[in-house]
């Protein structure tokens, strides 16, 4: 997935750019009127480019998923600006947001709760198309079948319900649904963590192919640094709600400057070294 920046001399226009983004959640104690704020993240600057992958790594609870939800327009951030190809997204009305949403799609960490348990596979995939009013019922179904094939699901399973699929297969289903509207930005929230090694490689390969053929921009949240080193062009490290470090992948792995990043990288171990330590 390494294309663009280094080889191309002319600067590439940013596709999605966020500046000073912040989000606070308001919580209320049960049976009481006292409200208090919990800051999820603050002052986040990120830029996504077509055909490039930005990986976001960080501790559980650092605010990665909240940031992803804001960038996918599922939540309104409490501070900052968001621009898609120069268009400010946070001042748009509902109608225009509806038009923009198809361009930014998100795939969630937990496919079991992201899929409607009462719909068969093909309808789950075709639902975004139906919502956006694309094609006839038959065309949508045909597209759903194509997408199932693309993500490595047997087309004969199109009438199966989500519970009949395994965890990994469900994640493929969610990926197929996200691709249905041909988005330009995909926000991937831990999409590989439920898959086994061969499937991870397969999905990564698929994501890479799609990225180069559709010039997709990825914001890929992952905690598997081994995989991040393979797929990311750039890595942003999040710690306690802030981006503490953002560098090209190779630079980050070679010279992490923040203490937390150093700790994070030090915790990645190969099977060989673990076995050596255990036998000692």
């Amino acid at each position: 997935m390494t294309s663009g920046l280094e080889s191309n001399a002319k600067p590439i226009e940013p596709l999605l750019r966020v500046r000073g983004l912040g989000q606070q959640y308001i919580q209320r104690r049960a049976f009481s009127r006292t409200k208090f704020c919990v800051g999820a993240f603050e002052d986040v600057d990120l830029t996504l480019f077509s055909g490039q992958t930005l990986a976001l790594v960080g501790e559980s609870g650092a605010g990665k998923s909240s940031l992803a939800r804001c960038m996918a327009l599922l939540e309104r951030p409490s501070a900052g600006t968001m621009e898609l190809e120069g268009e400010n997204l946070l001042t748009l009305d509902r109608k225009s947001l509806f038009r923009i949403r198809r361009r930014i799609q998100m795939i969630f960490q937990d496919p079991a709760s992201a899929l409607n348990p009462g719909l068969p596979a093909c309808e789950i995939i075709a639902e975004p198309l139906a919502i956006q009013g694309e094609g006839t019922r038959l065309q949508r179904r045909e597209r759903a079948r194509q997408l199932m094939e693309q993500v490595g699901l047997d087309v004969r399973w199109e009438r199966k319900l989500p519970f009949e699929f395994s965890g990994g297969q469900r994640q493929r289903l969610a990926i197929a649904r996200a691709l249905a509207l041909r988005p330009s930005v995909l926000i991937l929230d831990e999409v590989l963590s439920n898959l086994d090694a061969p499937n991870q490689d397969l999905i990564l390969k698929l994501l890479a192919e799609l990225q180069s053929s559709h010039a997709l921009a990825y914001l890929h949240i992952s905690h598997d640094l081994r995989l991040v080193s393979q797929f990311a062009d750039e890595v942003a490290v999040m710690y306690q709600g802030k981006i503490i470090e953002q560098k090209r992948t190779r630079e980050l792995f070679a010279s992490p400057s923040h203490f937390y990043t150093q700790q994070l990288l030090a915790s990645v171990r190969s099977v060989e070294s673990i076995l050596l330590e255990r036998s000692a």
Binding site: Q27, V57, G58, E59, S60, G61, A62, S65, Q109, D110, A112, S113, F165, S166, G167, G168, Q169, E190, S193, N194, L195, D196, A197, P198, N199, Q200, D201, H223, D224, L225, R226, S229, Q230, R250, F253, A254, P256, Q262, Q263, L264, L265, A266, S267, V268, R269, S270, V271, S273, I274, L275, R278, S279
Partner: protein, 274 residues
Amino acid sequence: MPTLLAVANLNVRYRCPDASEQVAVGGASFEIGSGEVLGLMGESGCGKTSIALALPGLLSKEQARVTGSVQFLGKELLTMEPGALRAIRGAGIAMVFQEPGMALSPVMRAIDQVAEVIHAHTDLKWDECCAGAQRALSRVGLPNTQRILSAYPHQLSGGQLQRVALAQALACKPALLIADEPTASLDARSQNELLALLRELQRESGISILLISHSPEVQARLADRLMVMDKGRIVEQGAFADLYRNPSDTCTKAMLRTSAHANAAANFDFEMVT
């Protein structure tokens, strides 16, 4: 090593709406020694989770037909009375599942979720159960603050939820822990912490673990022995290091990334970083 759990010729067949049956697990036989960590790997959909559910009798009769034999401390679990089985679940055999968000009750505070398990299996007063729950929560590395203790699941992150689920599982000091992808939703550092913690708890209390994980690094850290499944059948079983160094089945090779992945990951030498 005395045997804790002996599984012989376990078959799990799911009932389909059209009265046919789908075989999820076929003729699985294995043993878990007391204090042993048995790793289980396999492609998604190969029946790992079906085994995890079938062992403690979590598959309903309407949903699936489970045959064979599962002996836990000499008692047959598959033909056991529902009441007796309930006493074993949670206290003798505990479970941690892949998606903590679905395993926890959305309307209970973290501390109550854990205290409830203790309350169900002991005669302690509720206050004592809560104190026990607090200890269990701090043992799994959750900060002992009011915000965490009194938080509902939707107010916690995925990693924190998984710790609550683990605290719940370990609260009654079970003899066997079935962990189905316990670290899949944790970041690298918390993952290491959790694995180190599991290792430590396992050494201290001599608990046995059936560890389901697709990550070779996770298995390497914990598993003494490894079992590889393909399409519902166990294709290979043996000491982890042996299987890693000389895998004989193609499925094992793919799961452990013994060839292809090693080259891909060699782009960055992680050991050089520190």
